[in-house]
């Protein structure tokens, strides 16, 4: 469980998609998302899957990773599909008791669900091929222009890294405190709901207090190492846009403009 959380969904592989700059991938995913909502016919939404399939092939990701990413959504997908099949008026294709499946319903249902699937697959691909740290770095750089209107881009990136670092520590700490309190006679997994809630007190109070102490210690440690925000800070591994990044961005931008005009 610990490993799952710190690494996120990221799968480390060597592929052209993994090598792209995170900024390129974020921008393209955003453009793709907007484009999907501009498409309205079933044919065009089906064709929108071509770039997704191409990227999956290029990224060398095993297919089951993509399906695993889609898993939380599938009940939702089936529900949407059935609702559309049954509730859209039009030419009746099939009748079952009081329910009618119409041609319009089938078309609309497929369009809406395909759009959902591509949307989810695109977002999943971004996070499967980009590590959370690279993503936060990319976001920080992309949001740099917004610093002028007071958006704390660097602070947010820093807090994200700290929070990601804290998650496994907190889980470890919880397990440790649970064992410590059990050895003193605390009972965490029996009794009715009220008893269990009461058993939260000897767990949560020490957890929160020690967490606060950790946060204070971290702040002090950073201060004593002269951390003073993003101003003038340099990086060990600066992000680099390569020629392939620029080419891809231009192609995606042109495709997007074409789509808007052609619509």
């Amino acid at each position: 469980m610990l490993k799952d959380i710190t690494l996120g969904q990221y799968v480390h592989l060597e592929s052209p998609v993994h090598r792209l700059d995170p900024r390129t991938k974020v921008i393209i995913t955003l453009l793709y998302t907007v484009a999907l909502f501009l498409l309205s016919s079933l044919t065009s939404v089906s064709l929108a899957g071509v770039p997704i399939l191409a990227i999956i092939l290029l990224s060398k990701l095993p297919w089951h990773y993509i399906f695993r990413g889609l898993k939380p959504l599938w009940i939702f997908i089936v529900f949407t599909l059935v609702m559309h099949f049954l509730s859209t008026p039009g030419e009746v294709l099939y009748r079952l008791g009081p329910f009618e499946v119409t041609r319009e319903g089938v078309m609309q249902g497929l369009t809406v669900t395909l759009r959902l699937i591509w949307l989810y697959a695109g977002a999943t691909l971004l996070t499967l091929t980009t590590s959370p740290i690279a993503l936060t770095d990319g976001m920080e750089q992309l949001l740099t222009p917004a610093k002028r209107i007071g958006l704390p881009a660097h602070e947010f990136a820093m807090m994200t890294s700290i929070a990601l670092r804290f998650i496994p520590t907190l889980i470890e700490e919880t397990e440790k405190i649970m064992k410590a309190q059990s050895s003193r006679g605390a009972d965490f997994d029996s009794g009715n709901i009220l008893r269990r809630a009461k058993s939260m007190v000897p767990l949560m109070v020490p957890l929160l207090l020690s967490a606060f102490r950790r946060a204070d210690e971290l702040a002090m440690a950073m201060e004593s190492r002269c951390y003073r925000g993003g101003e003038g800070r340099t990086r060990f591994r600066p992000l680099m846009m390569r020629r392939s990044d620029y080419t891809l961005l231009v192609v995606a931008g042109l495709a997007f403009i074409l789509l808007v005009v052609w619509r």
Binding site: Q9, P72, L119, A123, P132, T160, L170, A215
Partner: protein, 190 residues
């Protein structure tokens, strides 16, 4: 927002992480997953105050949207489309409101804390139900009636969360008193 001290930053990050840990502890209930997230949202409001409480929940949402699976059912930008995303937006607003209502209290008062947490809960549920209704009706075109929204979005998960509100108020009070006592002891020793 931009004038955060380092201590503020690490505490904000801490509560974003705690909310994430709360999401991993889940009790299977159909439609709206019941987790301990809300406990930590309320604690963020009580212990960090309105501004930092809000920041911690915004950070939590941002981390989840970046693709780290910190939400109850994973993460990633597409989570925005999930009908339950409104509750996450509600967390941010709820933490802010709980912070607003409690940060002016000079003396710890269990009843007042409980009422403030309930006010936050009302905001979370309002936001969640509105979003659920909006997503189902306008984005995925799968109509859901107002009655069903209220039933699945509010009435079914409500008892558990009212109970958690009591736990949150009680725990918040304990930790708040401990922290004040230790701060007082530190000042006395200096």
């Amino acid at each position: 927002m931009s004038n955060l001290t380092l201590r503020d930053m690490s505490q904000v990050a801490l509560f974003a992480a705690l909310t994430a840990v709360g999401a991993f502890i889940k009790v299977p209930v159909p439609f709206v997953p019941f987790t301990l997230q809300y406990l930590f949202v309320a604690m963020a409001g009580i212990l960090l105050g309105s501004r930092l409480g809000l920041a911690s929940q915004i950070l939590y949402i941002a981390i989840g949207l970046l693709g780290v699976p910190v939400f109850a059912e994973g993460g990633g930008p597409a989570y925005v489309l999930k009908p339950t995303f409104g509750y996450l937006i509600g967390f941010a607003l709820g933490a802010y409101v709980i912070g607003l209502l409690t940060e002016r209290l000079l003396e710890a008062h269990k009843g007042r804390l409980f009422l403030s947490v309930l006010a936050g809960l009302a905001i979370i549920y309002g936001m969640g139900a509105l979003y659920l209704y909006g997503i189902m009706n306008y984005v995925t075109n799968s109509p859901i009636s107002v009655v069903n929204t209220v039933l699945y979005g509010i009435l079914l998960p409500l008892p558990g969360d009212i109970f958690l509100s009591g736990v949150a108020a009680f725990l918040g009070l304990k930790v708040w008193l401990h922290r004040r006592a230790s701060a007082g002891a530190q000042e006395a020793s200096q």
